[in-house]
Amino acid sequence: MSRLQIIRADRVQKTMDQLYEELAHRNAAAPEGNCAVEQTAALVGLCLAQSCGKCVPCRVGLDQMRRLMEKILEGEGTMEDLTMLERTARVTMDSSDCAIGGEAGRAVLACLQGAREDFVSHIEHKRCVADFKPVPCRRACPAHVDIPGYIALVKADRPADAVRLIRKDNPFPSACALVCEHPCEGRCRRSLIDDAINIRGIKRVAVDKAGHVPAPECSPDTGKKVAIVGGGPSGLSAAWFLRLMGHAVTVFEQRDQLGGMLRYGIPRYRLPERYLNEDIDVILSTGVEVKLGVRVGEDFTLKQLQKDYDAVYLAIGAHTWRPLGVAHDDAPNVFSAVQMLRDMGDGKPMDLTGKDVVVVGGGNVAMDVTRTAKRLGAKTVKCVYRRRQVDMTAQVEEVEGAIAEGCDIVPLKAPLRVEVDEAGNAVALIVAPQIPGPYDRGRPKPVNAARPEERIPCDVIIGAIGQVIDSKELADEGVPTKWNQLLSDEYTAFEALPGVFAGGDCQSGPSTAIRAIEAGKVAAANIDGYLGFSSTLPAPPEVPRATHQARGAVGRINMVERDPSDRSDDFDIMEIGMTDEEAKQECSRCLRCDHYGYGCFRKSREERVAVW
């Protein structure tokens, strides 16, 4: 008689594995605005299906929770039921014998806390507060660009119209085609089948094929004047929309060139100047007046602007930095990422030839600096980070790209001090090894490992640990701030300062270009309203009708980059655009959620509530 057997996955188990894989896809594409009660009840149902049934809270507790939620969903629940639900969830979390029940209880408790108003609405008003969003990419895009629309236009070989359609909501199609973090792809319904559409890649096809697309005609002059402080993506977006509405716009920019962090924060191998300049030239072609090299608080005051203009939009960005916060962080060869990238933007690159460079940080800026240092001739580049590599906030492809180009990632090392020579120059970064500890806000907190400190010799140290907003002068003039951030509301307005608006990095803290563009768009709409108008924008091109859906699984076309050995010592564009064939396939993968599903039903309504 055999005592042991080799276990192989059977057919049923393989099918179940497949099912769970599909469930992961489904979760990835979960639409925004689903009913929280319904989703929680469904989750409990799934947990219950996974229960072994031994312990009471998991076996019975989960079932009772499901029944209570069904009752609430039927509009028959009471506030006592909600209390019962909470009590049961807590006990299931606290007393289940294993994590199957315990984690289920914890999840229900979290839903009850985070979405309480939804539960209460079902009980008190027999109504769901959920607001189902028919077109996931469009809702996820901060600027609400009509993504299925422009994909259809690219597919129909009308790239210029695609660019026009994008500009209806976002005047930076070229820059965004290369550097947008594409939150739109996050909830792409195509993930249910295979993978999200490569939306940014298709946008690049549009701008590359369209060439120069002139701006539409502006509305007749309204006689109103708006001052915009800051010529970055947020300020210029506001300028674009306000000009199209017929208002006169003057942009005040402290540097010698426009573009803000798109020019002074993003290296050119990612965003070549010609792409950025194309967007800016089109924006300026609407008749925006620009004053370069002038700084608020030095060359002019907010008070003056308030006097001379009908409204003011503050979009000064986040252009200073915080020091490393360790001993000798002020050594002359310790720099900040902001300094380094700003010099690049002005065409005055640092000379790092043959040097050993240490970069501190784990975000996208840290990667930009790391890869820029490599391109500036550094012998070695080490990116020191206090958490694990997987915890880096930089996009995965950025990290992988840096490694491929020969840079090193040195994870789990916390800077302790800068070691200097007699002349005061940094010669090494002393770090303390870390271990990943208990989770805090979704990732493990670094905790000191009981190991000796380490010495990383170097010639240059560059800190990329975050930017700071330089808002002192504005605060002195009475603009409300907290931790340097301008405290305008979600409409970009200040209750105490009528006619003054603020948005972008200076309001939100350092964020993405598309967030800054969103703020500029919101500001433009609300400034227009403040000035007493409800202006409309030129009609966008008509979108081709959806053809029948191709729902068979097809691979996603990812962007290709030049070979690391070829690209790592120049600043030429790194990413290679799609071929016609690739673009055609990628466009055909779009499920046209603007037409199928809820899209064709509620499209008209959605457009009505859109900003424009």
Partner: protein, 570 residues
């Protein structure tokens, strides 16, 4: 042009045409349920699914564009099974008590099930019970709703009100009132367009037929009827009388057969409305205060103004609607002539309209000393009552309306179609200004089915800028244009339903077909054949003025025939 093959037939259609349209051209009927052309093309019911060669899934013919080279199968085994299962699923969530449903015999779901030979529902049937107040003019039975969403889109896209919305999620998703409002609080005009565009019996008017039968059975009551113009253009449909035999005379005979003591005509009151409203127009033209003047015959429109544009209430003509003028005259002048107290008369109004049920119940509209109009029944309710009356309607000899309130002119009869009130008013205004009758067809330019039209018309020496709109979506656009200063008029006719009362929310339903146009034509023909075509020439109207009212806008007329809509309860 697009060339494709459907069920082996080569078809050629315009670019952008749907598979459904292409199939129609090839003589192939694809069954539909939720589809409503241009209004609801959302592919929700999945009944119109077809197979497209090379496509993994079936697609909805109603909202998939025909493409060059497409090979489509509309009746393959896979399509037939899919269609059948989807209809079975719909039936499993539907109260299939067809025999007691108001749409029995005129239900798209019922005929679909028949066509697909479904004689049994293989699923457990589960639907939610009724939860609607049963005393409102408009009633929604959620046990019957198939979630086609047509009501939502008709109200939103055509009437511009958006009263209905999707509520609930998952399998509980259904139609409800926007923002959790109730039918008594929401800005519903009660136009009934959602009813006439419902494919099943989920939406209907409050059935008041028993109240009529009770009144007819009461020996102490003198029961009188008035019949609105548009009713006569459509009454046969629900009474089971072919359109050719559904004449006005036969309708009158059938109603007399029900036991009415008098069968009168709302057209009489329409003529009187013209006397009052026309005189009011000429009077108000002097000062042009609250200009332009709007017609006020349509209670759906009056509710719309009250709830959405109260600032325009002073612009409404203060003349009551023909229904209410009739009610006031019947219980005063006519009651006096009979020598009875107004309470003894039970006044019943047959209307192509659901909002009229609201209007007759407005407390502030009553001036005769009793309830001016006791009961309003829709054309559909009339049909139902007649079917049950035992009369073989088709062979009934024709009869005439009774005198005096049964005589209406051609001008009165066109009140039932868009532009008709305007035309009737212009005919008499011309007479009032010049002392001479115009050619009765002199103002034919105001006719048509365009949802919002404007004309310059000559009345005597003056040129009036007039506008006519039907459908509340168009009414909203017109009001917004006036507010924005981009439109200026002297006199505006508005009817809440597209095409006017002929397309009213109380009219018989033929699913998927808009009949306002052909019914309006019936009324136009009646006008053309009418011996009298001017309201001011109605002999009994004249008699009423000389015996009782004095002149238009006199004190008595003002008391009985005018109202202040701003004071109406909603």
């Amino acid at each position: 042009m697009v060339k494709l093959t459907i069920d082996g037939k080569a078809v050629q259609v315009r670019d952008g045409a749907t598979i459904l349209e292409a199939a129609n051209m090839a003589g192939i009927r694809i069954p539909t349920l939720c589809y409503l052309k241009d209004i609801n093309e959302i592919g929700a019911c999945r009944v119109c699914v077809v197979e497209v060669e090379g496509n993994q899934n079936l697609c909805a013919a109603c909202n998939t564009a025909a493409e060059d080279g497409m090979v489509v199968y509309t009746n393959s085994p896979r399509v037939r099974t899919t269609r059948r299962v989807n209809v079975e699923l719909i039936l499993s969530a539907h109260n299939t008590a067809c025999t007691s449903c108001v749409r029995n015999g005129n239900c798209t779901l019922q005929s679909l099930a028949q066509d697909l030979n479904i004689s049994r529902i293989p699923y457990e049937v589960r639907y939610r019970q009724k939860n609607w107040p049963q005393d409102t003019p408009l009633i929604r039975d959620r046990d019957k709703c198939v979630k086609c969403m047509r009501c939502i889109n008709v109200c939103d896209k055509v009437q511009g009100l958006g009263v209905w919305d999707v509520v609930g999620t998952g399998y509980r998703t259904t139609v409800g009132l926007r923002d959790g409002e109730t039918i008594n609080t929401i800005n519903c005009s009660l136009c009934g367009q959602c009813i006439t565009h419902c494919p099943v019996g989920a939406l209907h008017e409050r059935d008041d037929t028993q109240k009529l039968l009770d009144a007819l059975a009461d020996p102490d009551k003198i029961v009188i009827a008035q019949v609105a113009p548009a009713v006569r253009s459509a009454w046969g449909a629900d009474a089971g009388v072919p359109q050719k035999k559904a004449t006005v005379g036969r309708m009158v005979a059938a109603m007399k057969g029900l036991g009415f003591d008098y069968v009168f005509d709302t057209d009489f009151a329409a003529d009187m409305t013209i006397m009052e409203e026309g005189s009011e127009l000429l009077e108000r033209m002097k000062g042009k205060e609250h200009w332009p003047m709007f017609t006020s015959c349509c209670p759906g429109w009056v509710r719309f103004v009250k709830q959405n544009y109260p600032e325009f209430l002073p612009n409404l003509s203060s003349a009551k609607s023909p229904q209410q003028i009739f009610g006031a005259i019947a219980k005063t002048w006519f009651a006096k002539a009979l020598g009875v107290a107004p309470e003894k008369i039970y006044s019943v109004s047959f209307m192509p309209c659901t909002a009229k049920k609201y209007e007759c119940d407005v407390p502030e509209v009553n001036d005769s000393g009793a309830k001016d109009v006791d009961l309003v029944l829709t054309t559909r309710e009339l049909g139902r009552i007649l079917r049950g009356s035992g009369q073989i309607l088709e062979i009934l000899p024709e009869a005439d309306f009774d005198e005096p309130l049964g005589l209406g002119t051609g001008a009165g009869v066109i009140f039932g179609t868009t532009g008709g009130v305007m035309e009737a008013a212009l005919r008499s205004a011309h007479y009032l200004v010049t002392g001479k009758n115009p050619d009765p067809d002199a103002f034919s330019a105001v006719r048509g089915m365009e949802g919002w039209r404007e004309r310059d018309v000559k009345v005597g020496g003056a040129t009036l800028k007039i506008a006519v709109a039907s459908g509340l979506g168009n009414a909203r656009k017109l009001l917004e244009a006036i507010k924005a200063g981009t439109a200026q008029y002297d006199f505006v006719e508005i009817m809440a339903c597209p095409g006017g009362c002929a397309g009213g929310g109380g009219q018989p339903i033929t699913d998927g077909v808009e009949l306002a146009d052909v019914r309006g034509e019936v009324l136009r023909e009646l006008d053309a054949k009418s011996p009298i075509r001017f309201s001011h020439e109605n002999p009994f109207v004249k008699q009423a003025y000389s015996e009782f009212l004095g002149s238009p806008l006199s004190e008595t007329a003002h008391h009985l025939l005018h109202t202040d809509q701003s004071k109406w309860s909603i």
